[in-house]
């Protein structure tokens, strides 16, 4: 009996040792076999160049890599590119690609793939959102497998920011041409740290780590993303331990988690602003009405009521800490001033100015509540807003056909932090986002879009931001916050662009 036991013990010890030898990472602290994340929405498409919308980017970035990466506070840092140099006239950019990157099918990443992604694909007429940022690329000249020069049809000072932004992921030319555009939407193949191993639409995504990844290996060998649209269900999944991390929880629940102690939560201010768009025509052709609408909104109260006071109030089309932000610029909440302005135009609480106000419902946390609160704040000074609920896609369509209501609650994501992707794109009349279209705005914005000198450009945007607010061209409300809840034993470093990065998750 005894000897058998001892023999068994020896065998077990040998087996355990063997395992340790085969897989050196086994049982090492800082590694975890599987990490589950409760996420809000599916990717919709696995073609990484197809959609600019912010939600899928976290998932896409696990499978694909971007030419230029970002630090957690949105500074550019080398990604697939080790070097990028913009010409002084911003008409071309020299780039150098890493030489040690392979796709998950084993093929090597070269400048052919870079050229294919940012030039050939865009020009092939495929329906890709990436065209917004790279429509100006007139050619990408290949110098060697690791060196290329991007040529632009007009000055493109922020192409480097675009290379680090949503939808800018390098795809394999050989693979894309082999499988065709349809298959690209369902079967992703990239250079990223993970490969897709299981996918159930709108339900689950399983990603397995590639151990031949060129960069630092993230701590999770496998990441399971559970698509759970309902915030209360995401919370339930976290509390029951079925997921390790849950995003976009309600602010009240986050407060509760922070007090409870068994789970952790962070509120992370991200590069996303909530604001009210204004049209330059109709009732808002009157500058008094535009400014009154801005003075009437108590942003602190909005933050307190809907974000527990955690959301930063903003008075300009950018967020604190980003280039072109003016720290000393203020715009007051002042009901008396608003009434005075309206009175000057012949309106008042008894004779209100009437307008339509569009909002989304459920597009981002608190949207519908914020819109209804703004309606009431306006009502007090003499602006009668009829609230209509639309979807994000309807917003684009209404705006394209010129039928967007005078005011609408909207959210603007700018993962680069650069002012061109804030005020620049918000007010560029050539883009589908512009609602306040005047000749004066166009005259101010056009030179900025082409300005190659960084400091001049930022200075220009500082003036432009101030002009926009003083003219009442928009009503900035709040900087959005991302909420993340996670179990004990994990640490997460939040990224200001709202991405959850596997390498930013550490296991203790």
């Amino acid at each position: 009996m005894n000897s058998v036991d001892r023999r068994l013990f020896m065998k077990l010890a040998a087996a355990a040792g063997g395992t340790l030898l085969v897989s050196p990472n086994f049982a090492f602290a800082g590694e975890v076999d599987n990490l589950s994340i409760a996420w809000t929405t599916d990717t919709a498409s696995w073609d990484p160049n197809q959609r600019l919308s912010p939600d899928p980017q976290t998932i896409l970035k696990m499978v694909f890599d971007q030419p230029i990466d970002m630090t957690s506070d949105l500074k550019l840092t080398p990604g697939l590119l080790t070097e990028w140099t913009l010409a002084d006239d911003a008409m071309s950019m020299h780039v150098t690609l890493r030489d040690d990157v392979t796709f998950s099918d084993g093929s090597k990443l070269t400048t052919e793939d870079f050229r294919y992604t940012f030039f050939e694909r865009v020009n092939q007429g495929e329906e890709l959102d990436i065209a917004v940022g790279f429509g100006t690329v007139s050619d990408i000249e290949i110098l060697s497998p690791t060196e290329a020069v991007m040529q632009f049809s007009k000055p493109s000072p922020i192409v480097a920011q675009w290379l680090s932004f949503s939808a800018s992921y390098v795809v394999s030319k050989a693979y894309a041409e082999k499988v065709g555009p349809e298959k690209m939407k369902t079967s992703p193949m990239g250079t990223g740290p993970y490969v897709l191993t299981e996918y159930q639409r709108d339900s689950r995504i399983v990603l397995t780590r590639r151990d031949d990844y060129w960069g630092d290996l993230p701590s999770a060998k496998q990441i399971t993303i559970e698509i759970i649209p309902d915030p209360t269900a995401r919370l339930a999944a976290l509390e029951s331990g079925t997921v390790d991390i849950a995003t976009e929880l309600s602010i009240r629940d986050v407060k509760r988690l922070e007090q409870g102690g068994t789970l952790n939560a962070v509120t992370n201010p991200i590069a996303r602003i909530i604001y009210v768009t204004i049209r330059a025509d109709g009732v808002f052709a009157d500058r008094n009405v535009r400014l009154a609408a801005h003075h009437a909104v108590d942003k602190d109260l909005l933050s307190k009521a809907f974000f527990g006071g955690d959301a930063v109030t903003i008075n300009q089309p950018t967020i604190p800490g980003m280039p072109s932000f003016l720290p000393d610029f203020h715009f007051d909440y002042d009901v008396a001033k608003a009434q005075e302005l309206l009175a000057a135009s012949g309106f008042g609480p008894d004779n209100p100015v009437t307008l339509d106000f569009a909002t989304t419902n459920g597009q981002f946390p608190g949207d519908y509540d914020i819109a209804r609160a703004v309606v009431t704040m306006w009502e007090k000074v003499g602006i009668k807003a009829n609230l209509t609920v639309i979807t994000e896609s309807q917003w684009y369509e209404l705006n394209a056909s010129g039928k967007l209501p005078p005011a609408s609650l909207f959210v603007w994501e700018n993962g680069t932090g650069d002012p061109e992707l804030f005020a620049g794109n918000m007010f560029d009349a050539d883009l589908p986002f512009a609602t306040y279209r005047t000749d004066e705005v166009t005259a101010m914005i056009k030179p900025l879009l082409k300005e190659p000198d960084y400091d001049t450009r930022i200075k220009g945007y500082e003036e432009f931001n101030q002009y926009l607010i003083e003219e009442g061209a928009m009503i900035p409300l709040l900087q959005a916050i991302q909420t993340i809840g996670y179990r004990n034993g994990i640490e997460i470093k939040p990224w200001a662009n709202g991405l959850i990065r596997p390498e930013a998750i550490t296991i203790s």
Binding site: E198, I228, A233, S393, Y396, E397
Partner: protein
């Protein structure tokens, strides 16, 4: 005999083909009147006016509506239902992906409703003439005043939030995996043989099924109850009683067989309503079926998906109505001979 039954059913089913054709025309026409532009919807927001115009041309949106309809109909017959604007992929694939979940839900709900309804009807009938009968009927009325979507919310509140017994979202616990053999999750879960997975799958479907089924059951209770009362007035029941058969033997041996006919017909004619009820219940429970897809499609004006799902709803209603019709004809000797 079997051939004759089949012939009756096939004839009824053939009769719905023209009705269905008219329905497709109506839905198609209605969706084209909607103030949305399918071309704009299927392009990225950055699309220029020329690109939208080119897309309109490619989609045939500039041609007369009947040409568009015949283009759609020809493609539909080959199984091509167009491209979903929100998923930017084949509508048929998106819809078929979701269909099994809804079928599972509606069948489970039907079984639940019939069980509850039959039990309720028999119980109330068993206590006929006493005060308990009135109590039973009042309870039935009360449940009747709770449509499926209110029951769904009530169950979430009671069994999901206050006494958290059942999960209120999705189809499986996060982290569980079920390989897809049949596409029907409950069957696939059973096939895995993993007890935890099976329990999780049934726990998740419990509340939606209860909400949908319980809302449907009072109608069954009432019809069965009324039909039993009616049957007991027939002479053969009196005769059976005179022959000394026990109450139980009369009820289950004789009466129920006849009294069940109106219930079968009711289920057939009301099946469409039950199927339509999945829309809200699925939405409330984030149950990934057709209804959820439909609500999402309506919010994003995804026309080809709305069209496809509407037609599935209509076809199901029509098919079950005509089967009920055929059954009524076959089960009711008076109708058949007269």
């Amino acid at each position: 005999m079997f051939i004759a039954i089949l012939r009756v059913i096939v004839r009824r089913l053939l009769a719905i083909v023209p009705v269905f054709a008219v329905v497709t025309v109506l839905v198609f026409g209605a969706l084209r009147i909607l103030p949305v532009d399918p071309a704009q919807m299927s392009l990225p927001p950055s699309a220029t006016i020329e690109q939208v115009e080119a897309k309109r041309e490619a989609m045939g949106l500039n041609r007369p509506i009947w040409t568009q309809y015949s283009m759609w109909a020809q493609a539909a017959i080959t199984g091509d239902l167009g491209e979903s604007a929100q998923y930017r992929t084949s509508t048929a694939a998106v819809v078929l992906d979701r269909l099994p979940a809804t079928i599972e839900l509606v069948i489970c709900a039907l079984i639940f409703a019939v069980c509850v309804g039959m039990t309720g009807g028999l119980l109330i009938f068993a206590v006929r003439g006493t005060a308990l009968e009135s109590v039973g009927l009042v309870v039935t009325s009360a449940v009747m005043a709770l449509p499926d979507f209110l029951l769904a919310l009530l169950f979430i509140l009671l069994l999901g939030v206050l006494i958290p017994i059942f999960p209120v979202n999705g189809r499986l616990d996060p982290g569980m995996q079920v390989p897809s053999y049949t596409g029907f999750l409950l069957i696939d879960a059973v096939l895995t043989g993993d007890f935890r997975v099976i329990v999780s799958a049934f726990e998740h479907i419990a509340l939606p099924v209860m909400a949908l089924g319980l809302a449907f059951s009072p109608t069954i209770v009432r019809v069965l109850h009324a039909s039993l009362i009616n049957t007991y007035q027939q002479s053969y029941i009196q005769q059976a009683r005179l022959r000394g058969l026990s109450d139980r033997e009369i009820l289950f041996g004789q009466a129920l067989k006849n009294a069940i006919v109106p219930v079968v017909i009711l289920v057939g004619t009301q099946f469409g309503g039950l199927f339509g009820g999945t829309l809200l219940v699925e939405m409330i429970f984030s149950f990934p079926g057709l209804g959820n897809l439909m609500v999402k499609a309506m919010q994003t004006a995804d026309l080809s998906v709305i069209m496809a799902i509407s037609l599935i709803y209509c076809a199901t209603t029509l098919i079950f109505n005509s089967i009920a019709d055929a059954l009524a004809y076959l089960l009711n000797p008076r109708l058949r001979n007269g």
